[in-house]
Amino acid sequence: MGREVAESCVDGVIIEMVSAYCKRFYGTKPELAARRIEAIGYQVGHQLIERYTMERPRFSDHLEAIKFICKDFWSELFKKQIDNLKTNHRGTFVLQDNRFQWLTHISIDPSSDNSEATEDPSVSMPENKAAEATSTHLYFPCGIIRGALSNLGIPCAVSADISNLPACSFVVRVKA
């Protein structure tokens, strides 16, 4: 007896949550909004990893845990796997998703074309604002990854990199 929820509802709730926290609850304090959203993601990741590792034997090292996040965990959440995993074998992992589901509803700002008109530093504002707006939507998945890994016993810091949209990368730095 399973209960089902439409994926678009979940996407909508997450977009609305980000907008509510950034504009209504902490409108004047964007860093606090970011921290709060990340904390929500942390708890969600914490609980989800408990559920998805139920049938599995334990992981023998960090790399196996990260591979589990890339394959099984990501497919449970987004029905696809992480497209590319890079590591420097010294505690840093880069998880690249070429088409991140929660960013598909966000348009990529094409206004970078009018930067040849003036050389004002204020022209770079629209780009920055677009980048900022997009990055607020990535605090939640960063929190999910951080919560999942810390429940597996791997304390880490997770940040998102949006230099080439629609692909986005999550950089995981394991704390030693």
Partner: protein
């Protein structure tokens, strides 16, 4: 008989401790659970002893005391489940299936958004589910249902001659009336079994009718 179950967090903090015996035994059981934490650590951190089952979640029997046996289970998130039982002949498969159901109940309790990770589990639903999983699931047919089937099968050939069949029908009715005058617990177990094995529809009808009779009695007691 399972006498105690415990959930211990990854920092060896107790998250849930429930014993199913009288109060004066409970402290002894808690002490046993505490001592078995060392055995869990030893099993997990010593690769030479555990061999190929190093990363399995089910740890097997941790150690036997004079009256009890302790079984352990370690999840991926370093949460330990411990189970103390007084049964002398426990099958490995039964313990594994118990831990699987227990793990499912634990995951549901932890997914509660009001549960603070690291604090004790205070969910009543979890406590009820744990008390429920102690008893084996009614997949095995209890002896009483087999008796019932056998009695009906044996009485079937008597329907050939009239006199003999009348007597056997009455006998059968009295036997059935006696059969369902059991206590409520076994009655519900029998109902569950008969529902799960759908061929015993007569048994279902009979037991539900007598259960209904019990409810009527209870209601009349309650409201007068």
């Amino acid at each position: 008989m399972i006498v105690c179950v415990a959930v211990i967090g990854h920092q060896n903090n107790p998250l849930y401790l429930q014993s199913f015996t009288e109060a004066d035994d409970a402290l002894k059981l808690h002490h046993i659970v505490h001592c078995s934490l060392d055995v869990v650590d030893e099993r997990v951190n010593n690769p030479k002893k555990s061999g190929p089952t190093l990363n399995e979640t089910f740890l097997g029997m941790l150690y036997p005391t004079e009256n009890y046996k302790v079984y352990g289970y370690l999840t991926n998130t370093k949460v330990k489940f411990l189970m103390v039982t007084t049964d002398l002949d426990v099958k490995d498969a039964d313990v594994r299936s118990f831990f699987r159901r227990f793990h499912a109940a634990y995951v549901d309790a932890v997914s509660n958004p009001f549960h603070v990770p690291g604090k004790k589990i205070t969910s009543k639903a979890f406590a009820e589910r744990v008390s429920g999983t102690r008893f084996p699931s009614p997949t095995a047919t209890p002896r009483s249902s087999l008796e019932y089937c056998r009695k009906h099968v044996d009485s079937a050939p008597y329907k050939s001659s009239d006199d003999a069949s009348k007597v056997s029908d009455e006998e059968l009715k009295t036997w059935e009336a006696e059969f369902v005058k059991v206590d409520q617990a076994t009655l519900f177990d029998v109902i569950l079994v008969s529902i799960s094995s759908s061929s015993l529809s007569l048994l279902v009808a009979l037991t539900t009718l007598s259960a209904y009779g019990i409810f009527q009695l209870l209601f009349s007691e309650f409201y007068c």
